[in-house]
């Protein structure tokens, strides 16, 4: 990469007047001379034209690709252009990316098909139509040139931005307008991996230069003329109510403008996370927040104020004795076989609530006028804020303009368009008819996050021939909002219900207990909780029969090629062994998540007094195809850190119906001194598929660490956070 990359103009945020307007961020690639702001390229290309909704080509050959997904560092702003440029066949240094216009999308036939960004879906699931857009544009360009040159389209080649046929040669730009009119008799098929020239290369994410100088614009950075600010406090017990408040006590403080009450929507508690609360509006956020802190408020906590970690644990123990919904069954009567006795083992595991705690606190800016509404919010679905506001204020979607900004993290918690805060900002702006920016304090952000749900799981097995399990039984108790498996039965059961191990008789049951506490997806939903549980219980089963954990896994996945490939690579590169001196240990785990098979091998040291150090971490992944190894490594490292944070330090404290550790002094995350460097290995199956990369590094990592702790200390850590366990040994 060119070290002298310069940003000649600051990325700016602007409100455009008129239809189709909105903020747009543009990037030339690293190595190019500038990061530039493109003016509305979807409606008025600078000096070129669009072939389809996905791209325009300027006269100088610049290709502007509109990305309908959001960017939180996971790479959509680079991977979508990569896939299109691959098919279009243009020099990568000519490509720039912009966020697509959601007003156009929703009002002109939803040309982008999908606008959400979660679950590693952009590459994994959306590649067919994204690549198709590039292939279709390329074929239209060839067809347009063929007409002018009076040759058959098959005689025209399109390569690196140049069309040619015999002695004829022209830039793509010369035929863009004509290509847009071309109707193909048949749409082309997309390339196969053996035909790729760009995909598979380790391309740096193109927005990185904007993220080292403060110029990258996040939703929270929105600034508009005449904007006011709001601080918000909702009932700390979700769905509780405001009993009283004394605005008169603070209304004369400097800069205070108004107080607005929020009301949860009756009967819509699941689809809407709007809570009962109050906002103070002021001419600066700090003035609003200070006044809100000082204002006396009394809450009516409602019927849920007795729920705690302890009440949930007791309920889980009760439900361990009650049959649950069967989500996976192979063979017959697994529990009956285990209950007959013999060589059996059982254990109980637990993962607590965790919160998203993305570094950008939840916020939104909305400007409501009679003519139009503009909205900035940290969403994982570019189109969602538009729908939310249209629904909430009863305004036509044609009048609403969504401005996509970078996400300061999201991790599955901002999927629905940051629903509550977007509605709050819309209500205030609608009332005051001024632009308003709502920012949640960190405490509000954690208190009212849609949390990762906790799970308690009891596992049982009986060992038969060669000490291998002949029956396996698990019963999980989840606590989810209103009892809805809103992260889906498939993901709630992930890694246990879907474990690969060839046990002849197995059965997984699940209880979903209704709580008042909102829950949602959380980077690696289900697989993170269950991976920690099942991959430790696997070690328990293996060690009970004196099997080496790695050999046990190889034996129990015989014939399952994707798993074998990961395990054999692990055997080759990690040096896994079980005979280290006491106080040291190695542990392994392997979990399938989002269609990728991922293994982890951790080496730890534990002092006699119980101080844990992770000395080394190896991650091995089989994702089938791989389009960007650099970005993939970043995601694997990130997901591993993500889940180690929760496993080592996390856990929300639930008391009296509310969470009590709501800032970083009490909800602890991984910090630099604790984070090991991670070595990433790719062990890709030859008959590929499209596996995800954002989540899979997480699930196996804490299990590998916990298995290593067992070898170092003889102590089995069956719940998190690990730092609350006594790991001392003698």
């Amino acid at each position: 990469m060119n070290m002298q990359t310069k940003i000649s103009r600051r990325t700016m945020i602007r409100t455009m007047a008129g239809a189709g307007g909105g903020m747009i961020l543009g990037f030339h690639l690293p190595g190019a001379s500038a990061g530039v702001v493109a003016p509305e390229p979807w409606t008025t290309p600078t000096d070129g034209a669009e072939i389809n909704a996905w791209l325009t080509i300027d006269l100088d050959g610049t290709v502007t690709i509109r990305v309908p997904h959001t960017e939180q560092g996971q790479g959509a702003l680079t991977s979508v252009p990569t896939m299109i440029a691959e098919e279009l066949d243009v020099p990568w240094e000519n490509v720039r990316a912009v966020f697509a216009d959601m007003n156009r999308h929703l009002n002109q036939g939803q040309e982008y098909k999908v606008t959400t960004t979660h679950g590693s879906q952009v590459v994994r699931l959306q590649h067919p139509h994204i690549m198709q857009a590039g292939a279709s544009a390329r074929e239209r360009l060839k067809a347009a040139a063929a007409i002018v040159w009076n040759v058959d389209p098959s005689q025209v080649t399109a390569k690196q931005g140049v069309l040619s046929s015999g002695s004829n040669q022209a830039s793509y730009a010369d035929f863009v307008t004509a290509a847009a009119e071309v109707q193909l008799a048949q749409e082309p098929t997309i390339k196969t991996p053996d035909q790729w020239w760009l995909m598979g290369k380790p391309l740096p994410r193109m927005e990185i230069p904007h993220k080292v100088n403060g110029s990258a614009q996040y939703s929270i950075d929105t600034r508009l003329d005449g904007m006011v600010y709001a601080a918000v406090k909702c009932c700390p017990v979700p769905w509780g109510k405001v009993k009283s408040y004394d605005f008169d006590a603070v209304r004369n403080r400097p800069g205070i403008i108004d107080l607005v009450e929020f009301h949860a929507l009756e009967g819509k508690t699941f689809t809407s996370d709007m809570q009962n609360g109050v906002a103070i509006v002021a001419d600066s956020w700090y003035r609003a927040k200070t006044a809100l802190d000082l204002m006396p408020i009394e809450w009516d906590y409602g019927p849920n104020a007795n729920v705690s970690n302890e009440t949930q644990a007791a309920e889980a123990q009760r439900l361990f004795g009650v049959e649950g919904d069967v989500s996976n069954e192979i063979g017959s009567d697994a529990l009956g076989r285990i209950n007959q006795g013999g060589n059996t083992l059982s254990a109980q595991y637990h993962r607590p609530y965790e919160t998203h705690a993305r570094m950008e606190p939840i916020n939104a800016t909305v400007s409501v006028t009679d003519e139009r509404i503009d909205v900035w919010s940290p969403t994982q679905d570019q189109a969602a804020p538009l729908r939310i506001i249209s629904d909430h204020l009863g305004r036509d979607t044609k009048e609403i303009f969504v401005h996509t900004a970078f996400l300061g993290g999201a991790f599955g918690g901002n999927g629905g368009g940051a629903t509550a805060v977007t509605k709050q900002a819309a209500e205030i702006s609608n009332r005051l008819r001024r632009p308003v920016k709502v920012i949640w304090t960190r405490e509000e952000d954690i208190t009212h996050d849609k949390q990762r749900p906790p799970v308690y799981t009891e596992l049982k097995a009986s060992l038969g021939e060669r000490g291998l399990p002949e029956a396996f039984f698990s019963r999980a108790v989840w606590f989810t909002h209103e009892g809805v498996a809103n992260h889906g039965p498939a993901t709630a059961d992930y890694s246990i219900g879907t474990m690969p191990y060839l046990v002849p008789n197995r059965r997984h049951e699940r209880h979903n207990v209704a709580t008042h506490l909102p829950t949602a997806t959380h980077r690696g939903p289900g697989a993170n909780q269950n991976g920690f549980i099942i991959e430790q219980f696997v070690d328990e089963m293996a060690l009970a029969a004196d099997w080496d954990p790695l050999e046990w896994r190889l034996e129990m996945t015989k014939g399952l090629e994707p798993w074998q490939r990961v395990l054999l690579k692990m055997k080759e590169v990690c040096g896994f062994r079980t005979d280290l001196p006491k106080g040291q240990g190695m542990g392994i785990a392997v979990v399938e998540d989002h269609n990728s098979y991922c293994g982890a091998c951790a080496t730890v040291s534990v002092s006699q007094r119980g101080q844990l150090t992770i000395d080394k971490l190896d991650i091995i992944i089989n994702s089938g195809y791989l389009i960007n190894e650099l970005n993939a490594s970043e995601q694997l490292e990130g997901a591993a850190c993500w889940e180690l944070s929760h496993a080592l330090y996390g856990g929300l404290d639930l008391e009296n119906g509310q969470f009590t550790n709501t800032n970083f002094d009490s909800y602890h995350l991984m910090r630099m001194p604790q984070m090991p460097s991670a070595n990433c290995y790719f062990a890709l199956s030859e008959d590929g598929w499209w596996g995800g990369m954002g989540e899979p590094g997480g699930p196996p990592t804490p299990a590998a660490v916990a298995n290593a702790i067992y070898f170092a200390t003889g102590k089995r850590v069956r719940s998190t956070p690990i730092n609350q366990h006594d790991l001392s040994w003698s």
């Binding site: 904007h210 705690a357 990130g638 970083f664």
Partner: protein, 156 residues
């Protein structure tokens, strides 16, 4: 009340209460949004700036304490991504979501201004107040070592 400040070499006059944290003066009064809000209690480090060259958490530091002193924010580190830390950050593909990176970079730049060639443990110690939810710590550590090389090369 009117308070005079010097930020990135430019003089500003702002009308805020003297106890207002510098963070909100930068973001809301002056419009420099590169410095971020994360926790409000000096636990995450995303608001890190330099006051007379030393790193501070601007979310808890009252603006009155900056009068007569030099404030440097991420926007003032260079005007062309040419600071060795910025160059190393790009080279190591360090930021992911990027939200914490202004604070990370300001902490790293302060460390390098005080320590010529920090060890891993000196880096860990200087950076332990800066949270990153995306898990970029290994890349930050590598990038700081690389920044030392870039800085040394520029001197020779």
């Amino acid at each position: 009340m009117a308070i005079s400040l010097r930020v990135n070499g430019t003089a500003y006059e702002v009308d805020v209460e003297p106890e207002t944290p510098i963070l909100w003066v930068l973001r809301d009064s002056i419009g420099l949004t590169g410095t971020k809000f994360g926790c409000g209690i000096a636990q995450c480090g995303v608001c890190t700036i330099h006051l007379d060259g030393r790193p501070i958490r601007s979310c808890i530091t009252p603006v009155s304490s900056a009068v007569g002193r030099q404030i440097t924010t991420i926007e003032g580190l260079s005007n062309d991504n040419s600071h060795p830390v910025q160059q190393a950050w790009i080279e190591h593909s360090t930021p992911q979501c990027g939200y914490c990176q202004s604070g990370q970079i300001m902490s790293a730049a302060a460390l390098l201004s005080q320590t010529d060639n920090p060890s891993d443990s000196e880096i860990d110690s200087a950076m332990s107040g800066n949270l990153c939810r995306c898990g970029t710590y290994p890349r930050i550590r590598a990038a700081i070592h690389r920044a030392v090389e870039i800085y040394d090369a520029s001197k020779s």
